[in-house]
Assembly symmetry: C2
Homo-oligomer: 246 residues x 2
DNA sequence: ATAATAGTGTCTCTCAGACACTATGAG
DNA sequence: CTCATAGTGTCTGAGAGACACTATTAT
């Protein structure tokens, strides 16, 4: 069969939706915006928008990320261009059920972004129209997100949970310089479990290339001053960090 | 920002492309078809086609799979509806670079299918227009696939290679009843390495729920008769099978 | 002083990798 | 017989989990 006949094909709208995850006060949170129009008017939804003509999918996701958060994305392999102001961005999955939008046929290419805590939502500058919400309460049945965004969020959270097992991606949730304890609290928040601080310390400092000493110390967590580290070049964790009770 | 304005959006064509993998005579192979029209006329490409109006993305991929191979797909969680005639099918990634098709804006939702060896290509019944090719030679630079299909194939192969580490997906390459040695040869072909038969045997038979005895034995590999097994209910392998030299 | 967090050392148990050895068929 | 593959047992070393213990700050 020939791949297609360019003169006859059904037209689709293509959008990108973003699952932006961060860790705020010991909880995994995601960015949601309030819909101003029908359908699902007034309901919370994931940020997103059209892919423009001549725009690549990843570029559209990066543009939306800047518009919604001010965060500049960098590709998985590259280091952050501006230290402390970069976010990890990767394609998640594509959602195209025929009736997922009641008005027309829309295919959405969802992307997953991981960011440190710093930025406050600034969609329209209105705190009532955008906020960080704990994923725990969004995935409950109380007030579901618009469209199929609940499913997209669940898929994004599961991707993040599994990927920090075997990669250094958890450092994307941290500021440029961070302590072992802060990194451990990221794992604990994302997985929702408690990890042994001693074993965690031995594991991450003993994996070559995972962490590199940044030189200083900090007491911002209280207690004995902790060494500061930067993310090392190693992107693959072998052997992986083990998620308890799986 | 509002997700979109339904009156003004650039139109896209949406297709599905298939990376169909199987193991033939100790080599990981993929299904390719010869293009009959411009662009890339006469070049080999991945099978694929338009998503129809009112058709879900996964349904379009399953339809293309039946058209190209006669294989019926089943969802990851479910057992094969017809024993021996099912293939694993899952979404891989979406490719939408603006110039990936010179004629118009096409977004392709690539899918990955894993199938046992049995079927012969039957696209148009013409052996010259469809064939199983070892991925090794397709990923070399000799005669690249049309469009960005070389990249799609590489991504699909990498997905398969990593996923059989921590899941029971390798059984999707096997007939409904298979021996431990046949399963081992699947791992060896997909990873391109040699595995110790004794340690492999101990690992897979010692993992609860991975394999269930089917009752009989076979000597189709020569040597001492081997027990036949079916894939068990366990889909997640914990601890995972380790890929050597990583 | 106490509380809090950082960091080290030590024990045990599981498991991967290496490999000797036995079992059972085909020729 | 030989050869091929199936299957079991045993040793060793790496590493995860549990947890005692010390170190260094704030209050």
């Amino acid at each position: 069969m020939s791949p297609y006949d360019p003169s006859a094909f059904p037209p689709f709208a293509v959008t990108v939706d973003l699952v932006v995850l961060t860790v705020r006060s010991h909880a995994l949170c995601t960015l949601i915006v309030r819909r101003g129009e029908q359908p699902y008017q007034g309901r919370w939804a994931l940020p997103g928008g059209f892919v423009r003509e001549g725009e690549d999918l990843g570029a559209a996701a990066a543009r939306e990320l800047v518009e919604e958060t001010g965060l500049r994305a960098h590709d998985p392999g590259d280091p952050p261009p501006l230290p402390g102001n970069g976010a990890h961005l990767e394609q998640l999955a594509t959602y195209g059920a025929p009736a997922r939008d009641p008005r027309m046929r829309v295919v959405s290419v969802a992307h997953l972004a991981l960011a440190p805590d710093l930025p406050a939502p600034r969609a329209g500058g209105d705190a009532n129209s955008a906020r960080w919400a704990p994923v725990e309460e969004l995935l409950g049945e109380a007030e579901p997100l618009a469209f199929d965004h609940g499913q997209i969020l669940a898929d994004g959270v599961e991707r993040a949970r599994s990927k920090i097992e075997y990669s250094s991606l958890a450092t994307a949730f941290c500021p440029p310089e961070f302590t072992v304890g802060e990194l451990r609290r990221v794992y604990e928040a994302v997985w929702g479990v408690a990890l042994d601080p001693r074993n965690f310390h031995r594991k991450v400092t003993g994996t070559p290339g995972f962490l590199v000493p940044a030189g200083g110390t900090t007491t911002r967590q209280g207690g004995r001053p902790a060494q500061l580290f930067r993310a090392g070049g190693a992107t693959l964790l072998n052997p992986p960090m083990l998620r308890p009770e799986v």
